[in-house]
């Protein structure tokens, strides 16, 4: 797997190759090289499975992190290919033509984060939500408590405790794990 990571660095200018476990590596790529790198991994290396595709919202940096987890099912190895895209003009290349199930991942990400994948089918097709009028809910700046207070009224009389203080005064400062 080291050779493949080195290949990625030389071919696609990847950086920050590191081993999370000996069967799981992680590597960062610039936004325009990420999908070519994933394509190269699928076509020319045993990493043929798209195992997972996820997005992290780094609102402090104003960036989205898109992560493809490609897996070599026979060698039992995985590589996390990370890239950062701009949070304002959130568009990312699509891998829907490489793996059919990526359509579903990209549809959900498009709905939950508002990231656009040009060329991917079912962009803008509601997947989970129905009649959703607010901003994409999985963004960090979407305040779910405020939304709930507006839309789903609470039953009066329900108490909320801050666990830091409440568990402390109930179970002692150690917390309840050590009894």
């Amino acid at each position: 797997m080291k050779t493949i990571l080195a290949e990625l660095e030389t071919r696609f200018g990847a950086t920050g190759a590191r081993f999370q476990r000996d069967d799981l590596a992680s590597i960062d790529l610039p936004a325009d090289r990420a999908v070519p790198a994933v394509t190269w991994l699928k076509e020319h290396t045993p990493f043929v499975q798209l195992n997972h595709m996820s997005v992290v919202d780094w609102i402090e940096d104003g960036q989205f992190q898109v992560t493809w987890l490609v897996t070599d099912p026979r060698g039992c190895r995985s590589i996390m290919v990370n890239t950062r895209i701009d949070r304002e003009r959130a568009t990312c290349d699509s891998v829907a033509d490489l793996w059919p199930q990526a359509v579903t991942y990209e549809q959900e990400i498009n709905e939950m984060f508002g990231i656009d994948f040009p060329g991917s089918p079912r962009m803008g097709v509601p997947f989970i939500l129905e009649g959703w009028k607010d901003m994409p809910p999985m963004r960090r700046d979407f305040d779910t408590v405020k939304y709930v207070a507006e839309h789903h009224p609470h039953r009066p009389g329900r108490k909320h405790h801050d666990p830091r203080t409440y568990v402390g005064e109930r179970f002692g400062e150690k917390g309840y794990l050590h009894d």
């Binding site: 999370q20 476990r21 069967d23 799981l24 992680s26 043929v48 499975q49 798209l50 195992n51 997972h52 996820s54 992290v56 919202d57 992190q65 992560t67 987890l69 897996t71 099912p73 039992c76 995985s78 996390m80 990370n82 793996w99 059919p100 199930q101 359509v103 579903t104 509601p126 997947f127 989970i128 939500l129 129905e130 809910p137 999985m138 960090r140 979407f142 779910t144 408590v145 666990p163 830091r164 568990v167 402390g168 400062e173 150690k174 917390g175 309840y176 794990l177 050590h178």
Partner: protein
């Protein structure tokens, strides 16, 4: 609807969300010609609870009551995966006994879930007897869960650094007694399900998944094993105490509904044997939970990882990102049903007989809560 019937050759049929043939709460919009489906689409989202959003608002220890609700029949895999991911990032070593107890809990939950789905497989074809038996057998395991963790369905038993409490005295004997009771009934189940002429007629050669879809779509679990491909996360990505247990991957040929049911039947026996092995080899003394900082103010260093485990339905994975604060930055659940239930099912719908649809759905073991989380 009447207009559609009279005007066009197709009948539009909403298979769910309110439909007894549906596992969980999802919908399939299918178009029929006669009894054959020409095209269809799956609709999910009826169970969306925004777990991943809620976990961004919870402290690490508060996340456990949430993750175990992600898959209802088999909650412990989720607990283990969250714990394992955070432990890997935080660099916590769990004691030896905790490993074995976690393995025991995972196998128990696999057994319970496997019993339920095998009974449901026969139930989708109108045979009402096996589901009744199997779910009654599943209750034995739920009793042991209740004794061990205090909860019948949701356990919140696996925590960071190990498990919440030790095995109660005499647990192994009661477990063994229950396993014997279950093994008494399994031959009858074999007679009613696998030696049943009508069941074989209905299932053999129905719902075949082509082998080239495995790498193309990232399939896993009994669907792959039913093709004769020995692919099992417990063997390929060994975790917990599985490398020290001896078991071989349950395989079947044909990749149809019957083969998948056969794989599940073999894995029931496999889980029973594994539970026996675990209870025999488990270290009797030693700590069951590592020493941990105060959970209320625990901060985990930044990191990003992906852990996987073998659920009943296939490979389940957690993608966890932390940013050094006392809350999870991002957790993304990769449920096997996410691929089996949406992409694979939609791809298999055309040409399926409407009579086989719910049987196909159960044999893919679609678990809607983990699709939409």
């Amino acid at each position: 609807m009447t207009r559609r019937i009279t005007e066009s050759r197709e009948v539009q049929l909403w298979f769910g969300p309110q439909h007894p043939g549906i596992t969980g709460n999802m919908a399939m919009q299918v178009f029929l010609e006669g009894d054959t489906i020409t095209r269809g689409k799956t609709h999910v989202g009826y169970l969306h609870r925004a777990f991943e959003k809620l976990m961004e608002r919870r402290t690490f220890i508060q996340s456990f009551p949430i993750v175990c609700r992600i898959c209802v029949p088999e909650p412990d895999t989720n607990e283990y995966l969250l714990a394992a991911a955070v432990e890997e990032i935080a660099g916590i070593e769990i004691p030896e006994k905790a490993k074995w107890i976690r393995t025991l809990v995972l196998e128990m939950s696999r057994l319970a879930s496997m019993l339920m789905v095998l009974g449901g497989q026969a139930g989708t074809m109108g045979n009402g007897v096996p589901p009744q038996w199997m779910i009654a057998l599943r209750d034995y395991i739920l009793d042991r869960f209740e004794e061990l963790t205090g909860g019948r369905v949701y356990h919140m038993y696996i925590v960071y650094g190990g498990v919440r409490r030790d095995l109660p005295p005499g647990f192994a004997e009661r477990m063994e007694e229950n396993l014997r009771r279950i093994e008494e009934y399994l031959p009858y189940v074999d007679d009613v399900i696998f030696d049943n002429a009508v069941f074989r007629k209905r299932t053999i050669g129905v719902g075949v998944v082509p082998e080239e879809w495995v790498d193309e779509m990232g399939l896993s679990g009994p669907i792959v094993r039913a093709m004769g491909i020995p692919r099992d996360t417990r063997k390929d990505w060994p975790y917990l105490a599985y490398p020290e247990l001896d078991f071989d991957v349950a395989l079947a040929e044909g990749s149809d509904i019957y083969a998948r049911a056969l794989v599940r039947r073999k894995e029931i026996q496999q889980s029973i044997d594994l539970i026996r092995q675990i209870l025999a080899k488990m270290p009797q003394d030693g700590p069951y939970c590592a020493k941990l900082p105060n959970m209320m103010t625990w901060k985990v260093p930044p990191g990003q990882t992906y852990v996987r485990a073998e659920a009943t339905r296939g490979e389940m994975g957690y993608f966890v990102v932390t940013d050094g604060s006392d809350r999870i930055r991002r957790v993304h659940v990769r449920g096997p049903s996410y691929i089996h239930g949406v992409s694979l099912l939609e791809r298999m719908l055309p040409g399926t007989n409407i009579a086989d649809l719910s049987a196909l759905m159960v044999s893919l073991q679609v678990c809607p809560p983990e699709i939409e989380r």
